[in-house]
Amino acid sequence: MTPEMLLNLSIVILLIPILDFAFLIFFGKKLGRASGFIGTSVLGIDLILALIVAFVRLTQYPNETMQQYKFDWINLGNTSVTLGIGIDNLTAIMLIVVTLISFLVHLFSMEYMREDSRFSRFYAYLGLFTFSMLGIVIANNFLNMFIFWELVGVSSYLLIGFWYEKDSAANAGKKAFIVNRIGDLGFLIGLMIIYSTYGTFIFEDVFGKIHAGILPFNSGFWLTLMGILVFGGAIGKSAQFPLHVWLPDAMEGPTPVSALIHAATMVAAGVYLTARVYPMFTADALLFIAYIGALTAFIAATIAITQVDFKRVLAYSTVSQLGYMVMGLGVGAFTSGFMHLVTHAWFKALLFLASGSVIHAMHHSMHKAHNHDMDPQDIRNMGGLRKTMPITYITFLFATIAISGIPFTSGFLSKDGILAGTLAFGELSGHWFIPIAGFGAAAITAFYMFRLTIIAFHGKPKTSIAEHTHENNGFITIPLIILAVLSLWFFYSMNPLNPDEGWFHQRTQAPQSAVPASLMWNFMNPEKEINANENINVSNNRLHTISNELNKTGIPAFLVTHTLVSQPKVETEFKETLHHAHVPAMILSLIVAISGIILSFVYYQFKVYDPDSIVNLYPWLYKGSFNKWFFDEIYQATFINGTIGLAKVGAWFDFNVIDGIVNFVAAIGRGLGHITGIFDFHIIDGLVNLSAKISGWLGTALRKPQSGTIQAYLVLTVLGLVVLILLFI
């Protein structure tokens, strides 16, 4: 298959779900239940195509750089904004992850959402989400990524708020969108820096120019900031500390949505973004990323211990695991970090779908018992589900083991790699907090996951509702089984303890950093490239012209210069240390995981100690963890109330001051008018009226003698005559 065919096929893969969306939006109502069938089969086709593309890419072109297709989206006359799509190994793997999980969730929802009144709408939204997520995956530039990034946010908003009659669901959707937007603002500012500096959004062009020594505002600090800002998008979408607060609330959405969006794919988009733009991170940016990841992993794990809502435990576990991935990328364990994205996608989707299966069964049981007050998601109402729902239990156990990092599971392979990376990083850089947080979180993860399993599935049913649950039908169990199988080790590497030689590791090697050597960790710089780098620094200008010339030939400059000056396989100090850290990390992680599991059995299965005794011992610890360390409350008190207060002040100011001034000016005008009105009425008009009045008065006076009576006239005449006579005599 030629690269062109590959690209065309991936465009088809991208477009199928959006057509599905449009179709279901317009005709879904009429189709009713059939829309689920249509949506699922369309996604099935998409999955098959994705498998073909991924297979071809990973077998035929395993070592080639990104195959891509570009076009001018906006033409500004003297410049243009170019978009495009591209396929490389990361993309190929992500295509499978997205389409397969989406397909399984479609299948699962056929049963889970069966009785929902907006069934077809649900499938339409799933289609929209799949489209947006695929768009992120096959983007070859920052802007495309941002566009689909936002679209993913919207589909997430729509799906979280799917049951919008509930205020909590509508609120959660809104919260998710706005918190994500905060991260996206960072991403957007990053884009502004990129565009104003490099004039392009295409990944390889940007990296090439960074490699050629062009830095934003000519400063390494801005390059670091640019990386951190772009990573800001990942902080929002991948629910990293301090923007992790939206993800647990997002559990208000239907459970299949939680599995698809808030566990496996969308939240992983941030990690994918970080991996995708990996070459542009400087040492400081990477350190920032690593710390964010470590903090997230640890904080979320500590919260998960005390939660009682089935899905919330899983949500915090997701946050914690995402922290792992980000931490892995931050410390330089690129491959393991990305691999954890993939393995986590399977087993976390499995955990969520299994929880959906439990909730569905609980619902049915409640429905039969005419009980509508109980919370079907509260694990304190469950127990003993092992017997009534065996398939769900077994598959759930598979995933629990995988997430705990026990050998022979996929989770072990990836998690172990990340932990080894943190060890190596700690040793080389001296930032020991990161490995400590990593191993600590690993222990806690094992503990709370088994706590969840034991409370929900083991022991005796705590309510009659739980006692009367039944295993669900094939729509629900088949996806569980498929995902459980995918949680085993052999899909990634034949060696269950070391994935280094597996196909996955071979095809997802860390890309070479593009930032100048002086801004990178020394131990991550290629050992034999130092000379060449110096040359670059010496003759920056010359190289710049060279790369420009090369651009004209259509060959990306970065690739050419790169192949000119460096060796095909880059050896760094970090890689060596990582190699050595592998075995100690494995042993250590096994110890912490198993001790976590044992502890959880001690407390919850055998009840040797009462968990409440610890609560009583450290009540503030329990309260803090149970209340999610008060993040929501703190944000509410500071940012949200602050913004709202500011808005209030703004509105008040606008209404009273600005509009007040306008009205005041108008009032002055009116007042002046009033005064002149009075003057005009009484003085100017008064004079006029006075003269009129005088003449009127005169007239009335003169009118009197004109009585019209001849006799009176006669008298007057005579009198006049007399007067005349008297005068003349």
Partner: protein, 543 residues
């Protein structure tokens, strides 16, 4: 040139509404109810017909538009030019010779505005369907308004521009003052006086320019070589020029409206009837920013460069402050739906001003594109408010809830409009906002970053409103059908007339979101030329 009856397309598109108005005035409004209903129908359809022909002409203009011609300060590359002597007097005392021409034409800056005007005025006709009170007066005023707006966008003679500018005021005053809401007189007078206040500044500057160049031709006014040495406006960068620019800018900023000249807008929007709000937000506000681009920028390039930073600050403040005020509506005031959108308009028009101040291709193209997009998106938002207002006779955000189940199609359209206003990729608003950001960052990185907070605030208040109206539970009082008699509203969801008004806008918003080049291609040449011209002459002034 394509002419009909000896008149070019721009004359037709401008004066056709006057023709329609005369026809409407000649038709008697009828004595009894039946005759009244009949003539009312006739008025509507005449208005629909006239605006539809305008729309067809404008599409024709855009299709025949030569993308290579830049226009701006070059009369030879203006398109569809028509020119005739209008008022030619000589030997006047004081003035000497008075030369006013009927001079119209379009370039890449005005073409999108002409298209926008026809689209919005055509679709707003359908939003006028429920106007019962004195339909004859309403539709004739409406058509007069359309002529005024169109004239502003095609005029190339400053005097003509001013005439159209004032012509638009009169019908607007009556449309708000007669067909408005409870406090309509206050709003109408406020609108009228405020705008008139701005026009006075414009008039003064216009006269000063006239004495400087001896004609009202805009191109003469842009050509510095034609300025007479005795004029106070002679001498690039002189204080008088800065003052003249500032006066002109204030005159236009009132119309935009930019903070702090914006307070007429919320009142006018709240009181105006739906279609007038649509026109007001969709077209009228753009006249302010269009005036800046057409007149203030090229005539005072030196002053633009001098004030560039302050203009950007005004844009920035408008963005953040407008958004904050919109958000503040939830905590302060009556939670009026229209007021919220009015403040969001202030915020969105801030992007336009910011983009224009950036003086980069991206920013300027983004600004003009944002003018178009804000026109379509906000028009849609106001129509949407009109739909529920017609049914429920209330606009308070607290009065609603759970409409999504009652009106699913309406909710779908509304969601698209809201996300368009938020700037969701795939819809046109995103492209223009992103372009403004990218362009502004090149000139003012810090401003661009601060302006970015506008997108978060925007999302906050828009989603808040969306949730208030559509999600949650339906209040008891709306549980029945809107119109129990089923005479006006047969179904609860949007009816055919409303769909006719809304669906084309949805299509435009989505289409331009996916293929923005369709619109940007129209303007990019002109914009590049304008920037080059302003920067060059502005820099010469500062040497």
């Amino acid at each position: 040139m394509f002419t009909f009856l000896g008149l070019g397309p721009l004359t037709w598109i401008t004066f056709l509404p006057i023709l329609g108005m005369i026809i409407i005035l000649l038709i008697p409004s009828g004595e009894d109810d039946l005759a009244k209903a009949k003539s009312q129908n006739l008025y509507r359809w005449i208005t629909v017909g006239v605006t539809f022909i305008q729309l067809v002409i404008s599409i024709f203009l855009v299709l025949n538009f030569n993308l290579k011609f830049a226009g701006v300060n070059d009369p030879n590359s203006m398109q569809f030019v028509e020119r005739a002597n209008w008022i030619y007097l000589s030997g006047l005392p004081l003035l000497g010779n008075l030369k006013i021409q009927y001079f119209i034409g379009i370039d890449g800056i005005s073409a999108p505005m002409v298209l926008l005007t026809t689209i919005v005025s055509f679709l707003a006709t359908f939003a006028s369907w429920n106007i019962k009170k004195s339909a004859k007066g309403y539709f004739s005023m409406y058509l007069l308004l359309v002529t005024g707006m169109m004239g502003v966008f095609v005029a190339l003679d400053f005097f003509l521009f001013y005439v159209f500018w004032e012509l638009m005021l009169l019908p607007m005053y009556f449309l708000i003052g007669i067909w408005g809401g409870a406090n309509k007189e206050y709003a109408a007078i406020k609108f009228f006086l405020y705008t008139l206040f701005g026009s006075v500044f414009m008039l003064l500057v216009m006269i000063a320019l006239y004495f400087a160049v001896g004609s009202f031709n805009m191109f003469d006014m842009m050509d510095f070589a034609k300025y007479s040495h005795s004029s106070i406006l002679y001498g690039m960068g002189s204080n008088w020029r800065l003052i003249a620019f500032a006066a002109l800018f204030v005159g236009f900023a009132i119309k935009v409206p930019s903070v702090p000249f914006h307070t007429w807008l919320p009142d006018a929007h709240v009181e105006a009837p739906t279609p007038i709000s649509v026109i007001l937000a969709g077209v009228l506000l753009k006249m302010g920013t269009y005036g800046m681009l057409r007149i203030a920028w090229p005539m005072f390039p030196d002053a633009v460069m001098y004030f560039q930073n302050w203009i950007a600050v005004i844009g920035l403040v408008s963005i953040v402050y407008g958004a904050l005020c919109a958000l503040g509506q939830f905590k302060f005031g009556k939670r009026d739906f229209k007021k919220l959108i009015a403040y969001s308009s202030v915020s969105h028009m801030g992007y336009v001003v910011l983009g224009m101040a950036s003086m980069t291709t991206e920013g300027m193209v983004g600004a003009i594109f944002q003018m178009f997009n804000h026109g379509t998106i906000t028009a849609m938002l106001f129509m949407i408010v009109g739909v529920i207002y017609d049914r429920a006779h209330t606009r308070g955000l607290d009065d609603f809830g759970g409409l999504a189940n009652k009106m699913p199609v309406y909710t779908g359209i509304m969601t698209i409009a809201f996300f368009g206003a938020i700037g969701l990729p795939g819809l046109s608003g995103f492209v223009s906002e992103a372009m403004v950001f990218l362009g502004t960052f090149k000139t003012y990185p810090i401003y661009a970053m601060i302006a970015g907070s506008g997108i978060i605030l925007g999302a906050s208040y828009m989603l808040w409103a969306l949730q208030k109206v559509f999600f949650g539970k339906l209040p008891e009082r709306w549980s029945g059908p809107w119109d129990p008699t089923h005479k006006i509203y047969k179904t609860d969801d949007v009816n055919l007339v409303e769909k006719v008004a809304l669906v084309p806008l949805v299509i435009i918003i989505i289409y331009l979101g996916i293929n923005p080049n369709a619109m940007i291609g129209l303007m990019s040449n002109s914009v590049n030329h304008l920037i080059e011209f302003v920067k060059l002459s502005g820099q010469v002034a500062h040497l």
